[in-house]
């Protein structure tokens, strides 16, 4: 494929995106649709600029919750997976609880957490709970997936348990962990948003989801769209960031990341 053709292929989705936006704008203007039913893209953009003070503070709050929850999930999930890998009885005892937490929809747990915890903490715990499981299960799977011949080799050379974990099991688990991390990144945002809606807290530290609920009550549809746009952008940013991390870590050795060999 020529460079020119490759360039235009990369441009294609953007072109389609702008055509859709233009069609949307035209539909609203020509059809004279009132903004409380469907705001035009230009109005959403104007609202975003006009309400930036409020919205950016909420965006920051939601991102902070998401990042903190993800960090806790990574720390907790990896630590627990390592404990599980070292002591199988621990895994048998506790893994069912992790599954129960995973299969129970977070939106159903949130009201209960809101009874016990103050809203900010409850939102954080919700986001943590949904992000935790993919990290735990993927890392546990990865730790158990080390090549059996390599394990024999480590035994042959008298490797200690710690050496086996550090030099064999953790690197083996890395692609699995990174797969879990990318899922968890998206889920922690979803968890934070779901919990914010359930919490419905106003004032300082209110997240984007609360802005949506609030704007909905006031029939401020352009603002709903603006907040929604920010949530989407946040999700995309998280995905791209974790994708970049994954690419960087695996670039030299993993088939999924490396450049094809000639």
């Amino acid at each position: 494929m020529t460079r020119h053709a490759r360039f235009s292929q990369r441009l294609l989705p953007f072109g389609v995106f702008f055509i859709v936006l233009a069609a949307w704008e035209a539909l609203v203007r020509l059809g004279e649709i009132p903004p409380y039913i469907l705001p035009a893209p230009t109005l959403v953009a104007a609202t975003l600029v006009q309400d930036w003070g409020t919205l950016s503070a909420s965006l920051w709050a939601t991102l902070r919750t998401t990042a903190l929850a993800l960090a806790l999930a990574v720390g907790g999930g990896v630590a627990l997976a390592i404990l599980f890998a070292q002591w199988r009885w621990l895994e048998r005892s506790f893994f069912p609880f992790a599954v129960v937490l995973q299969v129970t929809p977070i939106i159903a747990i949130a009201p209960l957490l809101l009874v016990y915890l103050e809203p900010g903490t409850a939102v954080l715990v919700c986001a943590f709970l949904v992000a935790f499981f993919p990290i735990l299960s993927n890392t546990a799977l990865g730790l158990a997936s080390a090549d059996h011949n390599l394990r024999d080799l480590f035994r042959l050379y008298g490797a200690s348990r710690w050496q086996q974990l550090r030099l064999l099991r953790l690197p083996s688990a890395m692609p699995y962990f990174l797969g879990g991390l990318r899922i968890a990144g998206g889920l922690s945002l979803i968890g934070a948003i779901a919990a914010e809606i359930a919490a419905g807290t106003a004032g300082r530290g209110a997240g984007l989801a609360y802005r949506i609920v609030e704007a909905g009550y006031r029939l401020n549809i352009p603002r709903m769209f603006a907040a929604l746009l920010l949530i989407s952008l946040a999700g995309i940013a998280i995905y791209l960031a974790l994708e970049a991390v994954s690419r960087f870590v695996l670039r030299r050795w993993h088939e999924s990341r490396a450049e094809p060999q000639g």
């Binding site: 090549d147 011949n149 390599l150 024999d152 080799l153 480590f154 035994r155 042959l156 050379y157 008298g158 490797a159 050496q163 030099l167 064999l168 690197p171 890395m174 030299r252 050795w253 993993h254 088939e255 490396a258 060999q261």
Partner: protein, 259 residues
């Protein structure tokens, strides 16, 4: 090429060794085997005859259920193991892969470096220290695997069908290089294969295994009159020995021809 030394005591002796797997399959039964210092001994037999199990028992990766494994010096010496797959760590460079055995013994990068460089030089990969396994061909990966085994200067090198997955040309080249390495280092090599040609080309002695449960049914001494060069591969001695080994192998396959 040194011949077997009938006079010297065996480096290791297996007597009446048996091994059953947890699933009830008997892999080995009544296995007697002597490995002499400095020889290349091939274990030749049909697939699943317990050759690999014998190797694992000798390496100490599994315990025999019956019989004894006695070492000349009373304890297991330094052992190198080469698997059928190169079994390299994909996340580590060639250098770091060869470093592994020394690293597990507590040697730092700097301490280990001279021996790593030496081992990689011996297998002809001196220029590939920084490469990653996925950037190498199958034959080169196997060379790294051999360098990793050599870096500990093992008294006994165990090789479990190491070249079985490689193409014919690569295999022939690695066979030749292995002979040169053995002549240089004087290591004892125990080589599992199901290729008659490979076993005749490489070994000073061939031990033919029966089908499972594996035991020794024939021993063939291979003492060619000349060097083991390319001419050896087409010599009448080579052809005759291959025929003898094939016949021994045929005889154990007979009961199972119904399959």
């Amino acid at each position: 090429m040194t011949d077997a030394h009938p006079g010297t005591p065996a480096l290791l002796s297996l007597r009446n060794v048996g091994k059953r797997f947890a699933n009830g399959v008997t892999a080995l039964e009544g296995l007697d085997l002597d490995v002499r210092q400095g020889e290349i001994l091939s274990l030749l037999g049909p697939s699943g005859c317990g050759k690999s199990t014998a190797l694992r028992l000798i390496a100490g990766l599994a315990e025999p259920d019956a019989g004894t494994i006695a070492w000349r010096d009373g304890q297991r010496p330094e052992i190198g193991f080469v698997f059928q797959d190169a079994t390299l760590m994909p996340w580590a460079s060639v250098f770091d892969n060869v470093w592994l055995p020394l690293r597990l013994r507590g040697d730092s990068r700097e301490q280990a470096a001279p021996r790593i460089v030496e081992a990689l030089g011996r297998v002809g990969l001196g220029d590939f220290q920084k490469a990653y396994p996925r950037e190498l061909s199958g034959g080169m990966k196997m060379r790294v695997s051999i360098a990793r085994a050599l870096v500990m200067r093992p008294a006994l090198l165990l090789m479990d069908e190491p070249f079985a997955a490689l193409d014919e040309i690569t295999r022939a080249r690695l066979n030749r290089d292995l002979l040169a390495l053995q002549a240089e280092l004087g290591a004892t090599i125990l080589f599992v294969t199901h290729s008659v040609y490979e076993s005749v080309y490489l070994s000073s002695r061939i031990v033919v295994f029966s089908q499972r449960p594996g035991r020794v049914i024939d021993t063939i001494d291979v003492a060619p009159p000349g060097p083991r060069d390319e001419a050896f591969r087409v010599s009448s001695f080579y052809v005759e020995t291959c025929r003898a080994a094939s016949q021994a192998l045929e005889s154990v396959m007979q009961p199972a021809t119904a399959r």
